[in-house]
């Protein structure tokens, strides 16, 4: 066991404007490691597989339990959370000591190495007003109750951690298109179902029907497959297709 190693190939980039390059690392194997702990080993001893001293790889992480969304990266080409990607599990699929490839997500600007800027997703959340408005100049009392039947599935949407995996996998989210992407669409479902949030339902539907909105979805359904929080994104997109079609007809004839 002692002389076994974890081989890594990491796509590195010094600054947002510089060109990326590849660097390989070789870390002594220990059982039960994950990608974050492997990256920490590199930080302890920043030497690449050729034995040259190098800058430690930069990445972002936070909660270490797959709820914050900060450590999203491409692990062997698939967007995942580094903290929840166990080395032993990866080797079960690929075979022991197979090189593990780490890249930053490609749909977001790179800040440095594996750190990306997920600002576009937070802007999308602002665009669709992904919150419940309760602020006012006087107390307005208790709001209506959230029916338990709806709480059950709406809670699943609230697990979204804006990690960007769905945006990464979506073929219609790319520099050529202005598609808002699956994550924000699901949030519209959550806040339009919430009894207080529903009071601003039309504002969110209008935002979702503006340029780059829900109509740009092409049903590739990758989002659903890669979502680490197992949110049934495709169901929520379909449900909002229904809501926006209904609303657009209503808007046409009755507004």
């Amino acid at each position: 066991m002692e002389n076994r190693h974890i081989k890594l190939k990491i796509k590195r980039q010094d600054s947002p404007d510089s060109l990326p390059w590849w660097e390989e690392f070789c870390i002594p194997y220990k059982p039960n490691m994950n990608i974050v702990s492997v990256l920490m080993e590199i930080r302890k001893n920043p030497v690449n597989s050729k034995g040259e001293k190098t800058n430690p790889v930069v990445w972002e992480c936070n909660c270490l339990e797959e709820v914050c969304g900060a450590c999203s990266m491409l692990i062997n080409g698939i967007p995942k959370q580094a903290c929840a990607s166990l080395i032993d599990k990866i080797y079960e699929k690929t075979g022991f000591e197979k090189k593990i490839v780490l890249e930053p997500l490609k749909k977001f600007p790179v800040i440095r190495d594996l750190t990306i800027d997920r600002h576009s997703m937070f802007d999308n959340l602002k665009r669709i007003k992904a919150w419940v408005s309760v602020d006012g100049s006087f107390a307005i009392g208790r709001g209506p109750r959230f029916a338990e039947r709806e709480q059950k599935w709406a809670y699943v949407i609230s697990r979204c951690m804006t990690c960007g995996c769905c945006q990464e996998a979506c073929p219609n989210v790319n520099p050529k298109s202005n598609f808002i992407g699956p994550s924000a669409i699901a949030q519209v479902r959550l806040f339009n179902t919430h009894p207080i949030g529903a009071m601003h339902k039309e504002i969110r539907l209008n935002a979702l029907m503006s340029n780059g909105g829900i109509q740009e979805c092409g049903n590739a359904q990758n989002c659903r497959k890669v979502c680490p929080k197992e949110i049934p994104l495709t169901t929520h997109i379909a449900a909002l297709n229904r809501d926006t079609v209904k609303y657009s007809i209503w808007r046409w004839f009755s507004e």
Binding site: I78, K176, N211, K225, A238
Partner: protein, 205 residues
């Protein structure tokens, strides 16, 4: 909220036109062509003659067929351009269907241009159309090209039914999406089989 500038309506109409009238027309077209199985060359000739003598047929061709197809094709090419396909990374069936939908779109468009030019504009007489088609299909290369064209059109149509029903919000939950997926695949097999059968029959007239 300036929603008037949005492409929401154009996207929905783009999807709807592919079903009504274009999809209905494909069904009608295949149904009429299947007359080759019920009376061979004579029945086929009669069907073509009847079709050509429907009152206001030219106007109907322009309004019901030509304009929707031209709009769908032009806007559709824009949609094809917008996607950045990734089937090699994400090898799920729906992602392949998404990619195939775009590939078949382009193949169908090229096929349709030839199909309409040769069998609608260059030749208009029933017996000429049949003999041209018969001679062309006897060449194995053209037979294969024809099969690819026809199957592309049918895949694009049947998979398009799936996307249409979702983008118009008819089908929502997982179970119905799954059932619909199987239904459209079955429809592809049935319509595809029938169409290839028709081509085979015409080849051996």
């Amino acid at each position: 909220m300036n929603y008037k500038k949005s492409n929401f309506l154009i996207r929905k109409v783009h999807s709807l036109l592919a079903i009504i009238p274009m999809g209905l027309f494909i069904i009608l077209h295949i149904t009429l062509n299947s007359s080759v199985f019920y009376g061979g060359i004579t029945a086929y000739k009669t069907v073509i003659n009847v079709m050509q003598n429907i009152p206001l047929i030219t106007e109907a061709e322009i309004i019901i067929i030509a304009i929707p197809i031209i709009f769908h094709a032009i806007y559709g090419l824009w949609i094809v351009y917008l996607a950045k396909n990734n089937v090699l990374t994400y090898t799920y069936y729906r992602n392949w269907a998404f990619y195939l939908q775009r590939i078949t779109a382009v193949i169908t468009l090229i096929y349709l241009l030839f199909h309409v030019a040769i069998l609608r504009f260059l030749n208009h007489d029933a017996s000429v159309i049949i003999s041209v088609l018969n001679r062309t299909l006897q060449n194995p290369l053209f037979f294969i090209l024809y099969v690819i064209g026809v199957l592309s059109a049918i895949y694009h149509f049947t998979n398009g039914i799936f996307s249409f029903l979702i983008s118009w919000g008819v089908i929502v939950n997982d179970k119905s999406q799954k059932v619909l997926q199987y239904i459209v695949l079955l429809l592809f097999v049935l319509l595809g089989g029938l169409s290839v059968g028709i081509l085979g029959k015409i080849t051996y007239f």
